[in-house]
């Protein structure tokens, strides 16, 4: 299925019309789609009044793309991520990873959660190597990879330390490296910097961008910060709540590497404003 990223500005009108198929799609032909989500829905609880968390979600992510998903709490974005991670089954529709349905947890996915979720009994190095241990990948090769990745996020010298000896930002960087150690086809990030202070968060955004530019992974990045979504994403998918639906998808046309100063530009502000409009129209922001 070709991806349908709406031309900027048409988002609102299309949303109101309840149609999303008429947008002049930029059909990506260069890269194949790593993720293909078709009419995905999720409802919680059977019985008389089930809660519809996701409704008819449609999108595709070409290889190497950084997709930000932004939405207010309760719009089902974490549910979507859990389905993509294979931690939760969908109720309808399908999600394909490299052409095969995501039926359960898979070895070719890396997940970064909101909290670092490090194991305190494992050193930094051994935390990073957890996926390698679980998937029985050769320790010697993986250890070298771990050292390289840790250097990339400026954590060289901390390999033998334990998680509680690190700051929150450092812990999240360990979690990020851990998600990359087994070279997954897809990196899923669920508000990974939500628990960090504003300054650390900006710094982490810059580092994540640098890491992504170096490794060119396909990334799904969930956040409730519009600025963060625009700063990092090649495209931004805006979700609206009750039930969780795709409000619109914007392409972010800002050259990389983006520095923090890009946030002060007119263009950046324009994207943020448009996303807010979609959120408002969807009843996301009261």
């Amino acid at each position: 299925m070709p991806q349908r990223s709406c031309a900027i500005g048409e988002g609102l009108a299309i949303l109101q019309a309840g149609l999303r198929t008429v947008a002049p799609a930029e059909i990506s032909t260069a890269a194949r789609d790593v993720i293909n989500v078709k009419r995905l829905s999720k409802q919680y609880g059977g019985g008389a009044e089930p809660i519809l968390a996701l409704k008819d979600i449609d999108f595709a992510i070409p290889e190497g793309e950084f997709l930000s998903i932004v939405g207010p709490s309760g719009c089902g974005k974490s549910t979507l991520l859990k389905i993509l991670a294979g931690l939760m089954p969908a109720s309808g529709g399908e999600a394909l990873l490299n052409g095969t349905p995501i039926g359960g947890p898979r070895r070719d996915i890396g997940v970064v959660f909101q909290s670092p979720v490090l194991f305190p009994w494992r050193s930094v190095l051994n935390n990073v190597l957890l996926p390698a241990d679980v998937q029985r990948l050769g320790r010697t090769v993986m250890e070298k990879r771990a050292y390289d990745l840790l250097r990339l996020v400026h954590l060289n010298g901390f390999e033998r330390r334990y998680p509680w000896e690190l700051s929150g930002g450092m812990q999240q960087r360990v979690a990020l490296v851990r998600a990359l150690i087994h070279d997954p086809a897809l990196l899923l990030m669920d508000e990974p910097f939500g628990a960090l202070d504003a300054m650390t968060r900006e710094q982490m955004n810059v580092e994540l961008q640098r890491l992504w530019m170096e490794r060119k992974k396909t990334v799904v990045f969930i956040t409730h910060s519009t600025a963060e979504a625009v700063f990092l994403g090649d495209r931004v998918m805006v979700m609206t709540p009750r039930p969780g639906q795709v409000g619109d998808i914007f392409r972010v046309d800002l050259p990389r590497p983006r520095g923090l100063e890009v946030m002060n530009t007119e263009k950046f502000g324009g994207y943020v404003r448009r996303i807010r409009e979609v959120l408002n129209a969807g009843g996301g922001l009261e």
């Binding site: 859990k82 991670a85 294979g86 979720v117 194991f119 305190p120 957890l130 509680w164």
Partner: protein, 269 residues
């Protein structure tokens, strides 16, 4: 630490004042030694007991019973705890037994144990194991079930098997609880061994207390109580030392929480 060196000195002084007061009261009021012996008599009894090598053998027997009972009880408690924690089915079927056993004061089983296993060391090992069993089992279950949902999700997202989740997450995660359980199990094993010896034994410190009671040797009994206190401290110290080594990563909040769990659930011995 908070009270500094002066505090330390005052503490020691207080102990001496207490002993002197005890000694003085007994002497002044002429309290007979078979009611309350003065501390000097207790120390004398302690010295004689060790000098005649009488105590050493009995200490050895009680310690052996305690250790073997602790080991037996711990292995069983851990195994059953793992089975219950990992299988809802096992939990469902064993639940009535667990509840009944939990509510029962385990020391009340001692007379039966003596009938079944005789006056030798075996019955005391069994009694110690019975008493030590419960706190560790309860804590093993609580610990294995305490794994944080995010951590379980992380393991699952990596396509970890059930066994890997147990081995790499649940078990290390449960260690603070398990060690809190082991600490209590160790002391409980000593209680079990002593109670077993009270009911019927040919040697051991509990048996010694009983026989001294018959001969009105109260000073002797006090000296044994001192020894038991010391043994309790020593046994506890062993487990605590081991815990510090294994759980270097634990922030001790978990251990505290686990101790509370034991206090609430496994308190009846």
């Amino acid at each position: 630490m908070r009270f500094g060196v002066t505090g330390m000195v005052l503490r020691v002084i207080l102990i001496f004042v207490f002993l002197l007061f005890w000694e003085a009261v007994v002497r002044l009021f002429g309290i007979p030694a078979f009611i309350l012996p003065p501390p000097s008599n207790v120390l004398l009894a302690l010295y004689r007991g060790f000098a005649s090598a009488l105590y050493v053998g009995h200490i050895g027997v009680t310690l052996a019973e305690t250790f073997m009972g602790f080991a037996l009880g711990s292995v069983l408690a851990f195994s059953l705890g793992v089975a219950v924690a990992l299988s809802r089915r096992v939990e469902y079927y064993l639940y009535p037994f667990i509840v009944m056993f939990q509510a029962m004061p385990k020391v009340a089983l001692a007379p039966l144990v003596i009938i079944w296993f005789g006056l030798g060391i075996t019955s005391k090992v069994v009694a110690a194991a019975l008493v030590a069993f419960f706190p560790l089992m309860v804590n093993t279950i609580a610990g294995l079930r305490s794994a944080d949902e995010d951590r379980v999700n992380l393991m699952r997202s990596l396509a970890a098997s059930r066994w890997q989740i147990f081995w790499m997450l649940q078990l290390p995660n449960a260690m603070p609880y398990i060690f809190a359980g082991l600490e209590i199990a160790m002391i409980f094993a000593l209680i079990g061994a002593i109670v077993g010896e009270f009911v019927g034994a040919t040697s051991g410190l509990g048996m010694l207390i009983q026989s001294m009671n018959f001969t009105m040797d109260v000073a002797g009994q006090f000296s044994i109580l001192l020894i038991l206190s010391a043994l309790g401290l020593l046994l506890n110290g062993l487990v605590v030392t081991l815990r510090r080594r294994v759980l270097f990563w634990d922030q001790s909040e978990k251990a505290d929480a686990a101790e509370q769990a034991v206090a609430e659930k496994g308190g009846v011995s």
